[in-house]
């Protein structure tokens, strides 16, 4: 066997082991969600459980009004947040990419400075809750932190500068198009790859967010799936610290372990379904962003 072939085999084996090690924890909760509750409590989490069941999923669909609602909140917030994020980000990036705009340098620095310095969560929390009163409103899940990030703005701006030829803009100008029209009819349609990347980053941020929920949401009606999971885990830990055990807590209604696992699985599901189709945009975004933010 040649050196190169031998190395190929070694690389495949080592990476194969790493892939298994990486996937086992995720597989564990998927299996737990399909394990009978009794078995789970008796034998604990296992990769080869004694008895399988789909009860947890049936329960979620039939009796899980709270879970279904939280799923709806997650979908709504992700959809609205991502749409708003992509539009505002692209609009902000456009003037930064145009040499004809005389305040281009100031605007770029204005966006860039947010990467260098931050006031931190304390003033931010007080502003959002006291001035804008967003506590326990749906806006608390959409507005703070994620709507426009300098990282995404620079991603789009670099694409506009490097991948869209000036001659296209000039041609549109000769046809009498204004800046607004050029943005909508030329730049936006031509920047599909970078828009896909930004949508992906933004969508992931909104879907996976729990920090905004932790700070701003107490109303159970506005729990997203992540926040619902977080609150359930908090309750379990609080109970444990008080009673030393989960047993005999019949008075407090907590979903069983397998239902919790099923909730975590449906929380990951959209990512698993969409990711294989968008991986290339994700990777491109990471590479471009790392090289020049």
């Amino acid at each position: 066997m040649s050196d190169s072939k031998k190395f190929n085999v070694i690389a495949t084996v080592i990476l194969g082991i790493l892939v298994v090690v990486t996937m086992v924890p995720i597989l564990m909760i998927v299996i737990a969600s399909f394990t009978e509750e009794k078995t789970l409590l008796r034998d604990g989490y296992s990769l080869l459980p004694g008895a399988l069941s789909v009860d947890a999923y049936i329960y979620m669909v039939k009796q899980g009004a709270i879970i279904v609602r939280a799923y709806g909140v997650s979908i709504l917030v992700t959809f609205v947040g991502t749409l708003g994020s992509v539009l505002i980000t692209a609009m902000l990036a456009y003037p930064m990419s145009r040499k004809a705009f005389k305040y281009r340098g100031i605007l770029t620095f204005f966006v860039f400075f947010t990467m260098l310095f931050s006031g931190g969560i304390v003033p931010s929390y007080i502003m959002w809750t006291r001035v804008f009163q967003i506590k326990d409103t749906i806006w608390a899940l959409i507005l703070p932190n994620y709507l426009v990030t300098a990282f995404n703005v620079f991603l789009v701006k670099n694409y506009y500068t490097n991948s869209i030829p000036d001659s296209l803009i000039e041609a549109a100008q000769i046809d009498g198009a204004g800046e607004m029209k050029i943005f909508w009819k030329v730049m936006l349609p031509l920047s599909v790859p970078t828009i896909a990347t930004v949508s992906l980053f933004s969508g992931l941020a909104y879907w996976n967010d729990w920090i905004n929920g932790l700070y701003y949401i107490n109303d159970a009606k506005l729990y997203s799936i992540q926040i619902l999971l977080l609150k359930i885990m908090n309750n379990i830990n609080a109970l444990k610290q008080n009673t030393g055990s989960l047993m005999g807590t019949g008075a407090v209604s907590l979903p069983g372990t397998s239902i919790r696992m099923a909730m975590a699985v449906i929380g990951i599901l959209p990512i698993l379904l969409i990711y294989p189709f968008v991986q290339k945009y994700f990777i491109k975004g990471v590479v471009v962003g790392a090289v020049k933010g």
């Binding site: 790493l18 003037p95 860039f112 969560i121 003033p123 507005l143 800046e179 990951i268 990471v286």
Partner: protein, 302 residues
């Protein structure tokens, strides 16, 4: 004159929503860091609360808290930078040896997957392993070995290891993307020449790939050093399940600020810790960037 304002106005209008958002979300809170010098009372508000000079800082640094959270934040980051870089390069080099595209794609998808999960879900996965009653480690691993169960969430000494493992599990695949991109950009003819000269694959990795990666490693490391005063809140809050017994080894500046603000209602000390993080963080980012600029102006942020 008229022509210039005619072309400037539309640009400003297009940028307006984003500018307004950044003013609200980023710039107003920047000015809010003066709160660290106030004795904040909810009833009096930001402007009504009395100034208290350095009182908040005196309290903060009088306790062990400041030392513990600073030590934890910096030490974990240092370990993450070193081991994270080693793991990412290791994966990237092996990936580039796979050759076959489909296999690369599948392996890469799997290794990236943890990075796409939320910290809440990762916290639950951790709980599945570590829970005292039902956890995989106690029930399957320790029981088969005939050992006693361990209350993992009460054992501070094991948590540095757990947190490092979780960090690597979540981030190594992600960080390897950048190194893979660098390696695949290297000139193939260098490797061909080395092969002809009889250099083994291993030799090629140590004498060609690694030396050529040095600029990328340097830049990424410097950027990470610039962020050394910031920690991933989710890793240090969700994974230990906010267990009080573990604070000595899991408290970072970010978890301290959260707890001060939301749990112990100690806004003054949280604001002081936030100020400390913002200001030193800013100095470090600027300093790291200055060094990057010296090495390679192309990679500098500004």
């Amino acid at each position: 004159m008229r022509k210039s304002s005619k072309t400037t106005l539309p640009f400003m209008l297009i940028a307006l929503p984003g500018v307004v958002y950044l003013i609200i979300n980023n710039y107003i809170p920047m000015f809010g860091i003066f709160l660290a010098f106030k004795d904040y009372k909810y009833s009096k508000g930001i402007f009504g609360s009395d100034w208290c000079g350095l009182k908040n800082f005196k309290f903060l640094f009088a306790t062990d808290d400041a030392l513990i959270m600073t030590r934890n934040t910096i030490l974990y980051n240092l370990v993450f930078i070193v081991l994270g870089t080693v793991a990412a390069i290791f994966i990237a080099i092996l990936m580039c040896e796979l050759g076959e595209r489909m296999r690369v794609k599948i392996f890469q998808s799997c290794l990236l997957l943890p990075n796409l999960l939320s910290w809440v879900v990762i916290g639950i996965i951790g709980f599945a392993f570590l829970s005292a009653d039902t956890g995989f480690i106690n029930n399957t691993i320790l029981r088969t070995m005939g050992k006693e169960s361990v209350s993992w969430y009460m054992q501070p000494n094991v948590w540095p290891l757990i947190l490092v493992l979780v960090f690597l599990w979540k981030n190594a695949g992600y960080q390897s993307i950048i190194y893979m991109a660098s390696i695949s950009g290297f000139d193939k003819s260098i490797y061909e020449a080395a092969s002809i000269d009889g250099a083994s694959k291993l030799k090629q990795i140590f004498s060609i790939t690694l030396p050529m990666l040095v600029p990328t490693i340097t830049i990424l490391t410097l950027m990470a050093v610039g962020r050394i005063f910031f920690s991933d809140f989710g890793l240090f809050y969700q994974v230990p399940q906010d267990s009080g017994a573990l604070y000595a080894v899991t408290q970072t500046i970010d978890t301290y600020v959260y707890r001060g603000l939301m749990q112990s209602n100690n806004v003054g000390m949280a604001a002081a810790a936030g100020f400390y993080q913002s200001v030193i963080g800013f100095v470090l980012v600027v300093a790291a960037n200055a060094v990057v600029k010296k090495i390679n102006p192309e990679n500098a942020l500004f």
